[in-house]
């Protein structure tokens, strides 16, 4: 067997850097389309309800993942809610360091059984159980995105 060769100095290690440019185009789906249209046009949050499971899905789902029933009952929820978990983020979604740390919370909108993640502002810290409300962009600036909600603030 011939001897294998090894890199013995760290400075001899070589790596080839590269980059895959990937772009995503996400379509909302039927339930998502209705949810975001309603948020954009009317500034309201819509969930869907499964009567059999007595569960209100937010964001809305077209079917109940618990009993597989098709869901047709649409229900307005929020815009106030309760903080169910909270954390301070020092890094952004791409791992970059944030100059100003952000408060992120899981929020249960009134009438919904699921949680929504969003920023908390206008606050010196919230605790679990705190009551908050959505602060929306002006109607003309809304694009049908979860960022049409600028943030939540304490009530």
């Amino acid at each position: 067997m011939g001897s294998t060769e090894h890199v013995e100095r760290v400075t001899d290690l070589r790596a080839w850097p590269g980059d895959f440019p990937v772009s995503h185009l996400y379509t909302m789906g039927i339930a998502g389309e209705r949810f975001f249209r309603e948020l954009k046009d009317s500034g309201r949050f819509l969930g869907t309800r499964c009567a059999a499971c007595d569960h209100v899905y937010l964001p809305p789902s077209l079917f109940c993942p618990r009993c597989f029933a098709a869901l047709e009952e649409w229900k307005e929820v929020g815009p106030q809610g309760t903080v169910r978990a909270v954390t301070t983020a020092h890094r952004g979604v791409d791992g970059e360091t944030l100059e100003t740390p952000e408060t992120l919370a899981l929020i249960q909108l009134d009438g919904a059984d699921d949680l929504l993640v969003h920023r908390i502002e206008e606050s010196n810290g919230v605790s679990i159980g705190a009551r908050v409300e959505a602060v929306l962009k002006e109607a003309a600036q809304r694009q049908g995105s979860i960022l049409d909600v600028r943030y939540f603030r304490p009530v």
Binding site: R14, P17, D19, S23, Y26, E33
Partner: protein, 175 residues
């Protein structure tokens, strides 16, 4: 669609609906950066390209010279034995006129690309560009030679060779 084909369930969405804004969409780019560890063989290969030379590895069992080099002979299941410099000329094994880039995006001016069997290597080949030649003049088996970047511009990259050009091996000058 054939008549007996059952349509798939779901709600089809046309390109037009998406691109004319009939449905809400969310678009975001992400950049997937990576660093590929070249390992010993390709690390040396790239270092040698920076010096303007092409290097391979010899397997003493099958007597092949592997270019690009590998530390392991996939034919003999045996570590390769020695480094060996090869020529910077070779033979076109196959070629193509490409109207798309590596990422499948369209380009205005088509590029000529080829697999080049390097002189001194045992088969295989390097995928590279061809230059100083028209597509209609290309043929398999044509002799080509590397056109290098100036030394100060070389970075230890396969692109330290700009392209391969046709050449007359008997006279060692452009054909």
């Amino acid at each position: 669609m054939r008549e007996r084909t059952t349509p798939l369930p779901g709600t089809p969405l046309s390109d037009a609906a998406v691109h004319q804004g009939k449905v809400l969409t969310l678009e975001w780019p992400s950049s997937l950066r990576y660093a590929w560890d070249t390992g010993v063989a390709v690390g040396r290969f790239l270092s040698e390209l920076k010096r303007g030379r092409i290097i391979g590895r010899r397997c003493h069992r099958c007597q092949r010279v592997l270019v690009p080099p590998r530390m392991f002979c996939e034919r003999c299941f045996h570590p390769t034995d020695a480094w060996q410099y090869v020529e910077d000329s070779g033979t076109i094994n196959t070629y193509s006129e490409s109207h798309i880039r590596w990422d499948a995006s369209r380009i205005e001016e088509p590029i000529l690309v080829a697999v080049i069997e390097i002189d001194g290597a045992s088969g295989g080949g390097l995928l590279h560009y061809l230059g100083e030649v028209r597509a209609e003049d290309l043929r398999i088996g044509m002799k080509v030679k590397a056109v290098w970047k100036p030394a100060e511009e070389r970075q230890g990259s396969i692109l330290d060779i700009r392209y391969f050009r046709p050449f007359d091996s008997a006279q060692d000058r452009p054909a």
